[in-house]
Subunit: 356 residues, 2 copies
Amino acid sequence: MASSEGIARAPVPPVDEAARRAARRRWSTLTKPEGSLGRLEALAEQLAAIRGDARPRFRRKTIVVFVADHGVAREGVSAYPASVTSAMLDNFLAGGAAINVLSNVVGAETVFVDVGIDAEPRTESPRLRVRRVARGTRDFAREPAMTRAEAEQAVSTGAGVAREVIRAGTDLLATGDMGIGNTTAASAMLGALTGRPARDVVGPGTGLDASGVARKAEVIDRALRSRDMDPHDPWSVLSGVGGFEIGAMAGAALAAAHHRVPVVVDGFIATVAALWATRLQPSLREYLIPSHRSAEPGHRLALEQLELVPYLDLGLRLGEGTGAALQLVLCEAATRLLDEMATFEEARVAQRSRPS
Amino acid sequence: MASSEGIARAPVPPVDEAARRAARRRWSTLTKPEGSLGRLEALAEQLAAIRGDARPRFRRKTIVVFVADHGVAREGVSAYPASVTSAMLDNFLAGGAAINVLSNVVGAETVFVDVGIDAEPRTESPRLRVRRVARGTRDFAREPAMTRAEAEQAVSTGAGVAREVIRAGTDLLATGDMGIGNTTAASAMLGALTGRPARDVVGPGTGLDASGVARKAEVIDRALRSRDMDPHDPWSVLSGVGGFEIGAMAGAALAAAHHRVPVVVDGFIATVAALWATRLQPSLREYLIPSHRSAEPGHRLALEQLELVPYLDLGLRLGEGTGAALQLVLCEAATRLLDEMATFEEARVAQRSRPS
C-alpha cells in the first residue's frame, strides 16, 4: 500500500452496513416526521457506513487541491493561457481564489499540491506540497500525455498527500483541481473509459465559444483514435490522455477509502478521476460523496457511470473543489442532525397519531 | 408603519439597481472564469441590490420560527396530533429540534414566537416571544379561521418581531414555521389566491397516506366553496383559511423589506406566506431569497406564482425554517466570494487569451 502503485491494487474495505442500519434506526426516533429531512438522511447513513459509526462527527475537514499543467493546452483548447495555472497557484497561496473564500466559509482547511506545473517551483510550506511528476504533461494530441511510470507516480502522490492529511486528523476529505487544459484531458479520459465519441464528453470548460469547443472535440477525437488505450486497462487511459492532477485525485480518493474517510467529489474533473479510480477498485464508489452538478456537459455522463446523484445544482463550473466545499456543509448538517437532535422520548413529543 | 396593519399598506422601497450593477461589474474582475460561479453570482447581485451595497456582508443572521395551532387539525388532516405543536415549541426551547442543530451549523441565531398555540403559555425568554393572537385558529372547515382583526394582528406581530431582531443587528432574516395542520391552511390559501382546486395544492404534509390526503383535499375544497374569500382581497383569504404563523411570516417579510433586509424563504408554508404578502406589496418579491424546493407538491405552484427558483432540492419537508437555514450558507458564500476574492489585477492572473 505504500509502494508506488500499491494503493491501486489494495482492495478497498467494505463499508459498515450495520452502522448504516443503526443510523437509519436512529433517524426514525428523532423529533421530525419520518423521512422529512429528505436526502440528508441517506447522506448521514452513508457517512455512518463509511466511518463505521452510527453517529459520526467530523473533527477536521480538508480540501486538497491538486495543480498541474497540460501539454494539450498548446492546441488552443482553453479560453485561458497556460500561464494561468501557475498564477492561480500563487493566488491560492495568497488566499485570493474562490476556494480560499469557500474553505473559510465552511470551516475547512486547504492544502495545495503542485503535482506538475510548468513553472519554477514555489517554496514548500504547510499549505503547499511540491510533489511534481514533471513540468506538465506532454501534448496528447501528438504523443501520450505521460509514461505509465509517471501515471503511477501521479496516483501515488495523491495517495501520499491524502495519507498525510488523514494522519494529521482529517476525517472528511474533499478534492479539487486546477490546470489549464484539464477539461480536455478529463473529457478524453471519459471518452476512452466509456467508448463515447468527443461530442458526448466535450464542453466549453472555462468558457470556450462554439468554434473553440469544435476544435477541442477534434483534438479529443484524434487522441481517442491515436493513443493506444484500452478501457479495461485504466492505466493506459491515464497515461494516454490524462493529467497529473487527475491521477492524483484518484489516488487521494483510494487512500481515503482505505482509511475509511469519506471523499467529497467536486465537479467534472474530480468525477472523472473518481470514475477512473473505481475502474481499479469498484468498492471505492461507496466512499464517494457527490457534491454538485457542474455546468460542464460531460459531468452528467460521468455521474451516471458512477450512479451518483449530486446534492447541489448551482451551475458552478469553476473547479478548485468549490462545489465540494459547499457539500462539506451538507455533510456536517446531516451528521450533526443525526447526532444532536432529540428523540421523541427525550423531548416527550407524541409520535404519529395513526399509521400512515 | 407601526400601526396594526400599516406594514401591509406602506409601499416596499425599490431595491438598488446601481448596487446590483456594481456587483455584476465586480464579478467580472475576480479571478475566475466569467460566470463560473453560476447562480451564486446572481444571488450575490440580488443581495447587493437589497442592501444597497455592492459588496454586502452579513453580520447577524437570524431565523425566526413562528408557532401556532390550527382549528382545522380537528378534521384529521395531519399525521400528528395537535398537541405536537406545543411539544415542539418546548423542543425548540430545549435545543433538540432540527432547526436548533442547523442554526448552529450555519452560525445563525434563532427566535421562536408563540403567535397562538393552544396550550398554557411558556415563560418569555430572549429566545421565546409570547405574542399570541388567540389559542389557535378556529376550524375553517366549519367557520372562518380568524377575524379580520386577528389577521391584521398576526401580520403586525410578525412585523414587530422582525423589526425587533433587525434593530438588534440582524441583517439577514429567515422565517420558519411550526403548527400541526398548517399545510392544510397553506394549501387552502394557495387555492384561494390562485383559483386552483384542492387537487392542485394538496399534499401529504408531515406524512399522510392516500386516504388522509383525500380527506384533506375534501376539507380544503369545502372551505374554498364555503368561506367568503376574494383573491383580490388577501385579507379575506388569510382570515378565511389562514394561520397565525402564516400571517406572521408575511408580516415579518414585509417589515424586513422596509429595512432593506433580505428575507430567506423556507418551504411550502413560508412560500405561501410570501405569495400572500406580495399580493399586498408586489415589490416585496425583490427582497425574497428562495431556499429549497420542498417535497410538498403545492410548493411548485407557489414558487411559480412568485417566479422564484429555489437553490436547493434535497427533498426536505420539515418546515421550521430548515431549508432556509441551509440557504443562509449560500448567501454567505455568495457575498463573501464577491467581497473577498482577488481581482485579476491584484493577483496578476492573465485574463482570457481571446474573446469567447
